[in-house]
């Protein structure tokens, strides 16, 4: 009896995790294609369209190419950390998904009811910086080291405002469980979404998410004109692919988190009658988020490094603190 009580949930978690990872990895492959096609459109090009119909097999071709590439290790690199860094980069990106509810009901989320869900997200994302830092150090290359240093400074700086923007969300929903946050936004109309009730927090979250992803306009970590490829300089083949994977999986995760926190998560019309619809709504919201991230990259120029740090510490952090205080005040006054 006791055995079944332990084994059954473990099996359920295992199955769900495997499905989740498969979805995340397929999502990663097709996000790269989406980005290349969409950015090509924005730049009045066509983009990769030769492998398969509409270029749909392009990710497969890319993957095959990276797998068969020669694996090169720099002679003076710290071998162990050099191989460890890509793995450390991927794991946090994948395990963020554990607490994100993908649809209504317990079937569509792994740990959505976790009462420390928001803290879990913050903890996992804060560990994500190690991949870049260790890669930069282990490569024993000055561009890589500079990239690694920039990565750690940038991520530490933007984590603060990132966390504080979520504090406002937790205050509103009076729960740190992602399921509760979605349910809080569900009743009534679209105005229940936190993006309309917490616009400042939503803006700060979006900016900090871009900075955490280290994508344009915050991609100083791998600014090719100054640092060749930053911490990625000495990486090739599958090890490079792992870093690439961590970036895109994190991009999906950030988009999913934004949808969960500010766009009502899986909620939408008729979800109670047809639970499967909730999955569709969530997927559409995540997709829109991804397109906006790509659109921003195609539009905005890169920040200067000192401006990036000054913006994080002198603009975003005070603004997010003020937002937390304002939110608390409005809750005490009974406005929310």
């Amino acid at each position: 009896m006791q055995e079944h009580k332990i084994v059954a949930p473990i099996l359920e978690f295992l199955l769900k995790s495997v499905v989740l990872i498969l979805i995340a990895l397929t999502g990663f492959a097709y996000t790269t294609l989406l980005e290349r096609r969409f950015i090509a459109r924005l730049q009045a090009r066509i983009g990769p369209n030769r492998a398969g119909p509409q270029g749909l097999l392009q990710p497969v071709a890319d993957g095959l190419k990276l797998i068969v590439k020669e694996s090169i290790t720099p002679a003076l690199a710290d071998k162990f950390v050099y191989f460890l860094a890509p793995a450390i980069a991927v794991v946090p990106a994948l395990i963020v998904f554990a607490v994100i509810p993908f649809g209504s009901g317990p079937l569509f989320s792994l740990m959505g009811d976790l009462n420390i869900g928001v803290l879990y997200v913050l903890a996992v994302l804060s560990v994500g910086v190690y991949g870049a830092v260790l890669a930069g150090w282990a490569s024993n290359n000055k561009y890589a080291s500079l990239g690694g240093l920039r990565a750690s400074a940038q991520m530490i700086s933007y984590e603060l405002a990132f966390g504080l923007s979520l504090v406002a969300v937790v205050l509103m929903a009076s729960s740190a469980s992602l399921n509760d946050i979605v349910k809080y936004q569900q009743p009534g109309n679209i105005l229940g979404w936190l993006i309309f009730r917490q616009p400042i927090a939503a803006g700060i979250f979006a900016i900090c998410a871009m900075a955490e992803l280290a994508r344009a306009p915050f991609d100083l970590v791998e600014a090719e004109q100054e640092l060749t490829a930053g911490f990625l300089t000495e990486y090739g083949g599958m090890k490079f692919a792992l870093f690439y994977m961590s970036e895109y999986v994190k991009m999906i995760a950030m988009s999913a988190l934004f949808a969960t926190f500010f766009l009502g998560g899986w909620s939408g019309p008729f979800v109670n009658e047809f639970p499967v619809l909730s999955l569709v709504y969530f997927a559409v919201k995540v997709l829109i988020g991804l397109l906006i991230i790509v659109w921003v990259r195609a539009t905005l120029p890169r920040f200067r490094y000192d401006k990036l740090m000054a913006f994080g510490w002198k603009a975003l952090l005070p603004l997010s603190l003020a937002n937390v205080m304002l939110t608390a005040l409005l809750i005490v006054l009974g406005v929310y």
């Binding site: 803290l119 879990y120 913050l122 903890a123 930069g136 240093l149 984590e159």
Partner: protein, 167 residues
């Protein structure tokens, strides 16, 4: 052997080995990585002790902030090579004495442990300390320490800024 005990033993072995690695490594970056491993195993032990909130805080404060800062400083200064310099001439007795004192401390603790083994059992009213329980305590009986801590953190911020400012 309950399953909990097995998990504990595995975690305990990992955390002690990580501490050994920290003490014996000749490279500051490796030492920092061993310390992170130790913190992570302790975080899992917190989970086993019904403290999920502290486990997550442990990861985000220690692994996510403090150790990143350590690595940042080590890389910034290029101080990862820990050449074990010869001690000052007058301090040669120091290392054996230090190891002896550490061993003595451990023996003392082990003696207390062996004489009092299983003398205490866990209280029946187990509570899962989530954010709400911790928050109620923090803004109830512990309000004054909480505010004092915030002042301490402010002092630390100012101190760090003053110390590292270029003249």
């Amino acid at each position: 052997m309950t399953s909990e005990l097995i998990v504990f033993i595995v975690l305990a072995i990992i955390s002690v080995l990580a501490a050994v690695g920290l003490l014996s490594s000749r490279n500051a970056v490796y030492a920092a990585l061993f310390l992170i491993l130790n913190f992570a195993t302790v975080a899992v032990l917190y989970l086993m002790l019904n403290a999920p909130f502290l486990a997550i805080i442990q990861i985000s404060v220690y692994a996510g902030a403090i150790m990143v800062l350590f690595l940042f400083v080590i890389m910034l200064l290029g101080a990862e090579r820990l050449n074990q310099a010869a001690p000052q001439p007058g301090l040669r007795w120091q290392r054996p004495l230090a190891i002896g004192l550490g061993a003595l401390l451990l023996i003392q603790a082990a003696y207390v442990f062996i004489t009092r083994f299983n003398s205490t059992t866990v209280a029946p009213n187990l509570i899962q300390a989530g954010p709400m329980e911790i928050g109620l305590k923090l803004f109830g009986p512990y309000l004054l320490p909480f505010e004092v801590t915030s002042i301490l953190l402010l002092v630390a911020i100012i101190g760090a800024v003053v110390l590292t400012r270029e003249k």
